[in-house]
Symmetry: C2
Subunit: 343 residues, 2 copies
Amino acid sequence: MENVKVVSYGIGVIGRRLANHLLDKKGVEIVGAVDINPAIVGKDLGEILGREELGVLISNDADEVLSRTKPDIVCHTTMSYLRQTYDQFAQILGHGVNCVSTCEELSYPSATEEGAEYASKLDEMAKEKGATLLGTGINPGFLMDTLPIVLTGVCTKVDDIYIRRQMDAATRRVPFQKKIGAGLTVDEFKEKIAKHEITGHVGLEQSIKMIADAVGWELDEIKVDPVQPVVLDHDAESDAIKVPKGHNAGSMQMSYGIRAGKALITMDFKAYIGASEEFDSVTIRGEPPINEKTSPCVHGDYGTIAITANMIPHVVNAAPGFVTMKDLPPPHATLTHMRKYLK
Amino acid sequence: MENVKVVSYGIGVIGRRLANHLLDKKGVEIVGAVDINPAIVGKDLGEILGREELGVLISNDADEVLSRTKPDIVCHTTMSYLRQTYDQFAQILGHGVNCVSTCEELSYPSATEEGAEYASKLDEMAKEKGATLLGTGINPGFLMDTLPIVLTGVCTKVDDIYIRRQMDAATRRVPFQKKIGAGLTVDEFKEKIAKHEITGHVGLEQSIKMIADAVGWELDEIKVDPVQPVVLDHDAESDAIKVPKGHNAGSMQMSYGIRAGKALITMDFKAYIGASEEFDSVTIRGEPPINEKTSPCVHGDYGTIAITANMIPHVVNAAPGFVTMKDLPPPHATLTHMRKYLK
């Protein structure tokens, strides 16, 4: 049975983990690799991944790779914002090639006006060229949108939805711990926020808009609060970072989908060193009420890699166009030869 | 905006609750009602539901109702087995009308050879007539199949899946409490099992097969154990039934999807008066591991009504044919005018 041919576009932290996972899957073959990092361009992807040589050289010329390899799909893991990635998607679709991406804004672009314009152009291109484009990931893409949407499916009535994700940053990559400002004083944290060196989680408004559109709520406003410090009344630490009592242990962020002054959708996102419990939860006030919890929370990096790979067949099978997680069939693990899931 | 026109086929307990819910929804109109119960044939559906008259008389002539009303979809809630419902589906599809049904075996007919044959014929008819047919419900249809499938979507690896549903029967309809033999002595319970007066839950093999097919596991065997009594070491009671210590409080049933002597999928289903906790849970051993729980468990009747109504737009929008929950887009609540969800 023929392998499904993938081009890995973006060989950063997530791109490498995803490529490693794809290489371990049955029926998947990486036929090309694209990145602009001069330190790895020209090197063999296998070598960069610490595996045996694959005969796939990392290239900074996406056009050449796509023309030559004619993949079934591109797995794209470069940047979070559509203004950074739009040209890359346009180029991929220009070759008539399907694409699944972890670009956060792509998960539900119409959350913003600018995003809606990008998505509309990408949809047109995709249809013209007969390719399909999807944005996914663990969050946005699953935990705070697709999963809550699915859970509303058993409700006759929904008053409001409250979604929480609480992560113990000590269990995550050190760059992630630094990204959320763990170990800084509160003043240092606020300064980094002001300088945009610490930014909020990308994707909260996308998740809110996806849920609202799925269930049919017209929101007046999507409100994303500024990211806030998390200060504990005791010392905490990870292997890499000490957080003295009174210092910042991580970050938290609230966001809301509001209609008539009422939060119909609330997202409560916390990641800090020393969290007493790790969980993802969805609480739906409605009929019947739903009180769902996954504990410990789903690991962000592994979950993102999994769902990106697992959505490959749904993207390849879909009608051409730009699609979102609420349009395609439900995600599922892909535990056998990837070709077997293709129509 | 034009209403979505529904024929209610089956005006029993679930059919009535579903009809009541549909009448409360925006953009849904019940244009016909079918049942064979002589006590209600010829009566106004509204009257039977304890509402104002609808001008919809319950008929035992499905052909006449379908020809005259030309509905967008039939909501079908008659029986559990395809050998009972096949002719009804064939008739509905013969009119080129879409159908969503709570028939348990229809949720995943290919769990059995007989079911696969029925499904293949129904699929052919549906395609020929340009209609779509779906079997759904809370269980089978959601809790023990669609939801676990969705959760595997964030896994790179799945070793096995353990799914539990534990219900406190005291919170359910009295006929349900009787159906599971609550209050009987263990001997009486076993006698009723032998006489097929108490039967197991219908749908466990369908749920197992749906999961296996979704993730790509070829099972050697689906094993559904006989239903067993649940005997407590203390007295228990519901409003309607007393269960003395040593008597039967309800029923439990285990089932397994087996490959190479190992249970890859386990379903653990318990319903009894006096259950200390009500919950639905999905435990996935894999990477990342998933430990998900909904507590209290989702109410079966309300959940079934909800998902049946909520799947209406997905069924109407789908390409013709027989489809299952793993083929259609993820379920979601339908909180605005039903027409707005149609393509």
